[in-house]
Symmetry: C2
Subunit: 350 residues, 2 copies
């Protein structure tokens, strides 16, 4: 039985997410010369899906606005998988049009992060996923009401039972499923990865030059590993202080240590072309601006126009295969499902 579900969902979901990419990849590598080793950046691996039914449930929950008080905001509202897993806004719009305090990072490749959030206050994706549901400025709900809502939706009751073998839906199951879905949101097969794997034609001369400059000028000290970032907290403003309007103090909010003020998790630079605007406050509109600022305040370097363009060209080669799946269908509410509460008062009478 377990096997049957596996095979079924595998065909519809995982084939698209994983299968094809992998095969094409290794064929190419074999044909086209030796993979690069000893590089500070490594290729991203395709997702390894061990429980497709869990992933499918997590996908539905990720897209379901009924996890919010208003019935209007889902994870996908702010981490839109049509747009690189972000909202492309300086700071997010949340419940009742609340203006968020910080730029929404992408969920793509977030499973590779050392911890979640700019300040790393969540250890992993499962811990993170509980946050926004109950955040008054994001989804504005409570875990209790979210679970109560799901428990009145016949389609979910059935799915949770299949996946978890129990009649009781819990927030623990909800976040587990969402995290399992998020773990599939990796973006292998970027042109840069093809190049790393030995396909010397995958990058242009300018892109290779940009990569060399990225290595030689010291960007890789912080942006390295498969995610080209995501694995440490670093000071924003090493050489020169960063001037912004945001109140965010970074890692210090978690550790309480003064030394951690303005230390932020180094963001992944995978798919960076899609995750504008940049920095925790979203103040850098273009990639060119972000590179200029990084060079200056982290490394004390003023890149020439050409150097800046070369690095930008390299960074754009980091865009990988975007998540590819059918728009999920959500099970309809039942007669006892509480109505969403987007507004406080009743509409004005005529």
């Amino acid at each position: 039985m377990k096997h049957k579900i596996f095979t079924l969902v595998l065909t519809t979901l995982v084939a698209a997410l994983v299968g094809c990419g992998q095969k094409a990849d290794s064929a190419k590598t074999a044909a086209l010369g030796k993979p690069m080793t000893d590089e500070p950046i490594q290729p991203i691996n395709a997702a390894n899906v061990s429980n497709p039914a869990l992933v499918q449930l997590g996908m539905q929950l990720y897209f379901d606005p009924r996890l919010s008080k208003s019935g209007f905001i889902s994870c996908n509202s702010c981490h839109n998988l049509s747009m690189g897993g972000t909202d492309n806004l300086k700071t997010s719009i949340g419940h009742k049009w609340n203006q968020g305090p910080i730029n929404a990072p992408t969920v793509l490749n977030s499973s590779l992060n050392v911890a979640q959030f700019w300040d790393g206050r969540a250890a992993d994706l499962k811990e993170q996923a509980g946050g926004p549901i109950a955040n008054p400025g994001e989804m504005g709900f409570t875990h209790e009401l979210a679970v109560k809502t799901l428990a009145t939706i016949p389609g979910y009751v059935e799915e949770f039972k299949k996946v978890f073998g129990t009649d009781k839906i819990t927030i623990d199951e909800v976040t587990k499923a969402i995290a399992a879905f998020e773990e599939t949101l990796v973006t292998p097969n970027s042109r840069f990865d093809q190049w790393l794997k030995g396909d010397k034609n995958a990058l242009t001369a300018q892109e290779v030059q940009g990569y060399e400059l990225f290595k030689n000028s010291g960007c890789v000290a912080c942006h390295n590993g498969p995610a080209v970032g995501g694995n440490s907290f670093q000071k924003m403003g090493v050489v020169e202080p960063y001037k912004g309007d945001s109140k965010a103090e970074g890692r210090a909010a978690v550790t309480g240590k003064d030394a951690d003020r303005f230390n932020f998790k180094v963001p992944t630079l995978r798919n960076i072309e899609m995750t504008y605007p940049y920095f925790h406050d979203g103040e850098a509109k273009t990639l060119s601006q972000a590179v200029e600022i990084m060079g200056r305040i982290q490394l004390g370097r003023n890149f020439s126009k050409e150097e800046n363009a070369d690095i930008v060209a390299f960074l754009k080669s980091l865009t990988g295969d975007q998540p590819s799946f059918k728009l999920p269908q959500l099970p309809p509410s039942g007669p006892d499902t509480p109505s969403p509460q987007p507004f406080d008062a009743k509409p004005v009478k005529k």
Copy 2:
């Protein structure tokens, strides 16, 4: 060349939307007895896609929040194709959390409507699609700014050129593409349609009984045709006045005629299980309530509990194949793309 694009998009998009359903359908019909003719309801036909590249572009625009001033709201925000093409809210949430005046109808099968909107003020889907973009309470943008934004997005410039053969993006092209996508949003192959086509096992005895009651008690006078509605304007409250809080006066807003007060477009009952809450004001939470009210105020009938349940069971058999396509990927903004403007003021300084 045209052929090549056709073949390509056909494989990825149209096969899923159209192909499979049709084949399975006719095979079944052939095997299982005579189709029902002379019924007041006819089966829905699968979409006939003549220009797949246009449809693909329209799909992207439909999902693109950059058509709104905030960069947050797309057509899919209020007509969510994961949820029956509606937002499942009493009245919609728009720009800056504006509380809309009326319930959002589904876009599914909306191409079958005699006109668009509850009062029919738009002649067709193309005319309709311009409305929400410039509506201050919906997407809050202007046609000029929407077009200007698209024209700075390199991926769109290329696609519009391919589809329309011109370098100039116009609102006319935008609404044409969105309408072409919407025309594919039909939902054939419901169990009721299978039954109409001759598969007598497609419905339960209760569902058939509900259909008989739906015909005999007079519902089909207004809810008929392939969309089971959508083809006329009718008084809400024929036998007994409808009591609601909404200011909407229906068709009279278009014709100026007193006789048209509280005449609304008869909604399609296709996928009605998914498009709760019901009526133009969204005041009926459940299908059972909606059926009770319709019987009483349109026909002067008080259905028994069993009769109500039978009709509800029949109505649920009208859920057809939901649109099935891969989550679209949107082309990233360019360096000159204007930033979205979700908030008036700058964030408060610390």
